[in-house]
């Protein structure tokens, strides 16, 4: 390591590089002169000097060492006319050692590069590790937030309902006890308190149901939509009492999804249709299925009710969005948001068409189940 550092240091500095050449040849010359005096052969020393210059100083140093060796050799030891073979010998030796040196340098360069890459990779690994830790931390954080949210929903479910029950309960008791002694206005106030308490109760229930959809896992099975429609109609039967509704229910496919959630979708859509056709002497509600784009399954619920202005179609599916006054049509404004959330969780879409006083059609789509699951 120390040696290669020394070599690099020499190769990278001009002064050192040529200095090595001059120094080594001078030493060789001195040695050669000494050897000659002792009648020994002197070529080896020059070769050694060239080798040292080439090895430590690189090609250019080797050339300089070669030139110096040749000059001093010709000047001190042989006749200039006889020096050519020695020049050739020195030159070939110099190029051989320079080549070795350059190969060695290249190999070392690659080694250094791979060492850099290794450090970089380690660096990246550390980065990935720290990112992973961050991710794990975030996920625990998210988990705890989710738990908090659950606790919050639980608290809403339990703690918010109790005072509401007390408001409604004691107002009703008061009404029972004092309604005969109260004037008409006071009785109306009591009725309004009760009405609001009831409305708030419905709101809490709907909000909880809405939040539960986000929290619970969907348990997908093959569900018969026809069966679900029957169940939904049973559930809303109370609202159809005294109403004249003609139902048109087409063939419905099986659907791959969460049974209770899909049931909620149909209950919401059907009860909306019933609600918004209330002003019609003869209500018509149609439930059916068509093929959508890309072979998706599209189910629709169509009514001839009061409809809506297409201008506000984007507001239909928002939480707490209502297009009618509370007095005209009751409701919490969460039903269609719930529908949308459920369908989105099933990978489908919801949309609606309508016109003021011209009825409305609500659609939901879902990818057709794979294989033989789909049948009408």
């Amino acid at each position: 390591m120390a040696r290669s550092n020394l070599q690099l240091q020499i190769a990278s500095s001009k002064v050192l590089r040529y200095g090595v050449a001059v120094l080594s040849v001078s030493v060789a010359l001195g040695g050669a002169l000494l050897i000659e005096r002792l009648h020994l052969h002197n070529i080896t020393l020059f070769l050694f000097a060239i080798a040292v210059a080439a090895w430590y100083g690189g090609t250019r140093a080797a050339v300089l060492a070669l030139l110096l060796s040749c000059i001093s050799f010709a000047y001190f030891f042989v006749e200039p006319s006889h020096s050519i073979p020695y020049f050739i010998l020195f030159a070939s030796f110099a190029s051989l050692v320079s080549w070795f040196s350059s190969v060695r340098r290249r190999v070392e360069g690659q080694l250094l590069q791979s060492r850099d890459e290794l450090t970089e990779r380690k660096h990246r690994e550390q980065e990935i590790q720290s990112l992973n830790q961050e991710l794990a931390r975030r996920s625990t954080e998210l988990e705890s937030i989710n738990k908090e949210l659950e606790a919050f929903a639980y608290s809403v479910s339990h703690d918010l309902r109790a005072p509401l029950r007390h408001i409604a309960g004691y107002t009703e008791l008061l009404q029972k006890k004092a309604s005969s002694t109260l004037d008409e206005k006071s009785n109306r106030y009591l009725a309004m308190i009760l009405d609001s308490a009831k409305r708030m109760g419905n709101l809490i229930d709907d909000l909880l149901a809405f939040s539960r959809i986000g929290r619970t896992e969907t348990q997908k099975t093959l569900v018969s939509l026809a069966q679900l429609v029957t169940e939904a109609l049973n559930e809303v039967r109370q609202d159809t009492e005294g109403r004249n509704i003609s139902w048109k229910i087409g063939a419905l496919p099986d659907f791959y999804g969460d049974r209770s959630m899909l049931r909620l979708v149909l209950v919401n859509l059907v009860s909306n249709a019933i609600k918004f056709t209330r002003t019609r002497p003869q209500a018509e509600i149609e439930i059916g299925c068509t093929d959508g784009n890309k072979g998706d399954l599209v189910v629709f619920v169509r009514d001839n009710g009061v409809g809506f202005d297409m201008k506000y179609v984007n507001k239909l599916f928002g939480v707490f969005q209502r297009l009618h006054q509370t007095d005209a049509f009751e409701g919490t404004g969460i039903g269609l948001a719930t529908v949308q959330r459920i369908i989105h969780r099933h990978g489908g879409k919801v949309w609606a068409e309508g016109a003021v006083d011209g009825g409305a059609t609500f659609y939901f789509s879902a990818p057709r189940p794979q294989g033989q699951l789909w049948r009408t």
């Binding site: 639980y154 479910s157 339990h158 703690d159 309902r161 109790a162 509401l164 029950r165 007390h166 409604a168 309960g169 004691y170 107002t171 009703e172 008791l173 308490a197 009831k198 109760g201 229930d205 909880l208």
Partner: protein, 152 residues
């Protein structure tokens, strides 16, 4: 109604005084309120059942039914339920969970612990009174309470 049969004692575990009064009012309408013992937390309810603490001197008999709220101070409803259903002498007492919680996990946990019925308190007083009345009539009158419980 009270002539139809003897009325069993109802042990009510409810920490909310307003809920206690509402429940008693509903039971009063059907003359079922006289045999109601009210405890305000899980510990007190267990004290009553085990005849200890302030109930040391009471006659050692079981209530015909226990109306149990889930969210209670000190010892919560599920813990009370667990202790009772694990006790050889007390496990025969019919227990009705009467709670505001519609959460499925509470329902599942209660049934797993062996609750006899699970009733969500309706917000509407009419419905609430009806639910309480039906509960009272069924468990304190119609149902044959296990031997060892009080009837008057």
């Amino acid at each position: 109604m009270e002539n139809m049969n003897k009325i069993g004692r109802i042990l009510m575990v409810e920490d909310d005084a307003k809920d206690v009064e509402l429940t008693l009012t509903a039971l009063e309408e059907y003359n079922l309120a006289n045999e109601v013992v009210v405890t305000h937390d899980g510990e007190q309810a267990l004290d009553y059942l085990y005849c200890r603490g302030e109930y040391k001197t009471r006659s050692r008999d079981n209530p015909a039914v226990m109306l149990l709220d889930l969210k209670l101070p000190k010892v919560d409803g599920l813990e009370v339920l667990k202790q009772i259903k694990a006790d050889e002498r007390l496990r025969i007492i019919p227990i009705v969970v009467l709670t505001s919680s519609k959460e499925e996990k509470d329902m599942v946990a209660s049934y797993k612990l062996g609750v006899n019925a699970y009733v969500v308190k309706p917000v509407d007083f009419h419905e609430f009174a009806n639910a309480i009345k039906e509960l009272g009539v069924f468990w304190a009158i119609i149902n044959e309470a296990p031997p060892g419980s009080v009837r008057k």
